[in-house]
């Protein structure tokens, strides 16, 4: 039997390792041939949905978009040891299940869990003589400290985050905002408005330079990692997937670390995200797919990956020994690891909700307009609310059509 496995990652070493793992799997399962496919991120975003909607595409793939989860197959009947697998991956399997599917469905496994937390340029803080923000610092405190550092060291960007609704969401939760109420998207509520007003204020004062979100349009994702790696940024809100790239990119140019997520009225929320390795319904060889997933999701493989690439896997790996000699990376990973437990259920729910991406898109779009001055604060609130309402209407139609 032949199955296709589409895999994409930013880290070429990760891809190479994955390929090796697949080779091993093939060696152990002579009756199965795995077509290992590497694809770009854009490809996964644009091509897979189209293909899946017409029942085409790879049998197994690593995906990031939650709206593709509805195409996943239930592998439980084809697995050798579904219960062991479920036990190892625990609650993370929940993330793969879409509403209306079997409560014990195993569609694959969570390849990585991500948490959004700020990175800081430690060297700059040291040079400015400003202490690193302590645990429990609010976003305002973090930004203020960053501004001080920037002033003292002449760096241009005190604070930034990737141009992404997902990145935006973590602090929003800590401000006490809600995205969902009674299954309806509601955004922005009063807490969200306060957060938006703060961001706007910072963008105008230069604490969160306009260019970061403004010099782009639409819902386009824009990564600020290079700016941080080049030493232009004091504090950068990103996530654990950046640790590995930073080790290489920053080298010994300066010291850096991740710090705890900013706190607010509703706590200190590290926004969670996930990538999944799943099998799709249209596969003609569900058994082979199940075997591959079982192999890749096994404790041994997951531990190897986690330790080598500093990844927080969905599988529960105890005491991972991260293989890096970078003190910056180690301290960062610790910062992430100690916050896994702080993820509120609501943050996980919104990730899986249909329409969340639409709201994220609308946030990016409207925030940019606000920042470059196309909208006033009030107008931005109104537009966001209208967008959410529109999404609710369309989703209702979709639900109706599905029935």
């Amino acid at each position: 039997e032949t199955i296709t496995f589409a895999f994409s990652d930013d880290d070429p070493n990760y891809i190479a390792t994955m390929e090796k793992l697949v080779d091993q799997f093939e060696a152990e399962n002579k009756d199965i041939t795995v077509n290992f496919v590497t694809a770009g991120y854009a490809q996964m975003m644009e091509q897979l949905p189209l293909q899946l909607s017409v029942g085409k595409g790879p049998d197994v793939a690593k995906i990031t978009a939650t709206d593709l989860l509805r195409y996943t197959a239930d592998l439980r009947p084809y697995m050798k040891d579904p219960d062991g697998f479920a036990k190892l991956h625990g609650k993370s399997l929940e993330l793969i299940r879409t509403p209306g599917t079997a409560p014990d469905k195993i569609g694959g496994y969570v390849a990585s869990q991500t948490l959004n937390q700020p990175f800081v340029n430690v060297t700059l803080f040291e040079q400015a003589g400003v202490p690193l923000p302590a645990k429990g610092a609010t976003l305002t405190e973090i930004v203020d400290a960053s501004v001080k550092v920037a002033k003292a060291t002449g760096v241009e960007i005190p604070f930034t985050m990737d141009r992404s609704g997902h990145r935006f969401a973590g602090p929003a939760f800590s401000y006490g905002a809600h995205f969902l109420k009674d299954g309806q998207l509601i955004f922005p509520d009063d807490a969200a408005k306060r957060y938006i007003a703060d961001l706007y204020k910072w963008s105008q004062s230069g604490a969160f330079p306009k260019e970061m979100w403004g010099a782009a349009g639409g819902t386009r994702y824009k990564n600020m990692g290079d700016e941080f790696a080049n030493g232009n940024v004091v504090t950068y809100l990103a996530g654990n997937w950046m640790v590995n790239p930073f080790i290489a990119k920053i080298g010994d140019a300066f010291d850096w670390t991740a710090i705890d997520p900013p706190c607010g009225d509703a706590g200190c929320v590290p926004m969670p995200g996930s990538t999944f390795v799943v099998a799709f319904q249209h596969t003609k060889a569900p058994e082979a797919a199940a075997r591959l997933i079982e192999y890749l999701g096994s404790e041994k493989v997951q531990r190897e990956i986690a330790e080598q690439f500093l990844i927080l896997t969905g599988a529960q790996i105890d005491n991972p020994h991260y293989k890096t000699d970078s003190a910056n990376a180690k301290s960062s990973m610790e910062a992430f690891a100690r916050n896994v437990a702080n993820v509120p259920e609501e943050a996980r729910t919104i990730e899986r909700t249909q329409g969340a991406s639409a709201v994220y898109g609308s946030i990016v779009q409207r925030m940019s307009q606000l920042i470059v001055g196309e909208l006033t604060l009030e107008e931005a609130y109104a537009q966001l609310a209208a967008d959410a309402k529109g999404a609710n209407v369309e989703l209702a139609k979709y639900a109706a059509a599905a029935k």
Partner: protein
Amino acid sequence: MRVVEMPMAALQRLLGAARMPYVFILPNMVLFTIFVFVPVGLAIAYAFTGGTNLLIWDRPFVGLENFKALLDCGSYLTPSTCRYNLFWTAVHNTWWYTLLNTLGTLFFALVTALVLNRLTRGRGFFRAVFFYPVLLSPVVVGLIWQWFLAREGLLNSFLMEWFDTRIIFLLEVAWSRIWVVYVSIWFHMGFFMLIILAGLQAIPRDIYEAAEIDGTSQWRQFWCLTLPLLMPNLLVVTVLLLIRSVQVFDEAWVLTNGGGPGTANTFIVQFIYQTAFSPDLRLYGLASAASVLMGIALLLLTLSQLWLAKKAQV
């Protein structure tokens, strides 16, 4: 070729020479039908359906609802009063872009063609140079210029050197619009320049000699001879420019990181693309409706162009 010639000759004996044109046009038409007409038909059909499902047979028929939604507007001049204000912002942006790009390209292409027509030496070289950007892919053009205009790009390093200041070009609304137009002129000018140059070279030299004998000033030669005789070429150029301008997408999208700052460079095709391909909520019906509206507008624009030209000629 024998292999093809024999059956074709047999076909001709079978059908008669009069039916051979159909044989010649058939393969092209078949592919055209399959890969263009059918999808266009489907796209039009989509415009009348709703929901987020991609498969057309899974989509509910909604009549004119998508069109109504798009056209639901307080005032078409103020996009923020519209239900889909992004669409109308895009319409406004496209309109301005089309105007500036058409006029700008026309101007630069005309002047360059006049200059090259004048040069007695080096014409081939300059013609090649000006045409070269046409060969690049839009993505490459967008990337090169983004790289050139970046905060730490070459242009800013000159500004720093000379004026001790720098401009984040793609953050300022006015600058970014200017650059988008500039880059498309840079990109496409050579193509239109060639068409105009061909027109210039087709004007018989002796007409200018006759004009010189008639004592015509150079200025008058330009206005009374060159420009009117160039009209057919200028018309073609204008129509092509209009069509392309309204369809602007790739290079502007890459250059401005998706139409920024804010919505300053969000154009209609981007709206369509974004609406159809946004994760999670693919409003394909709405996107199709927008394309249909755009197609109609283009058709009207082109026809009115041709009509005006015809009227001017009589």
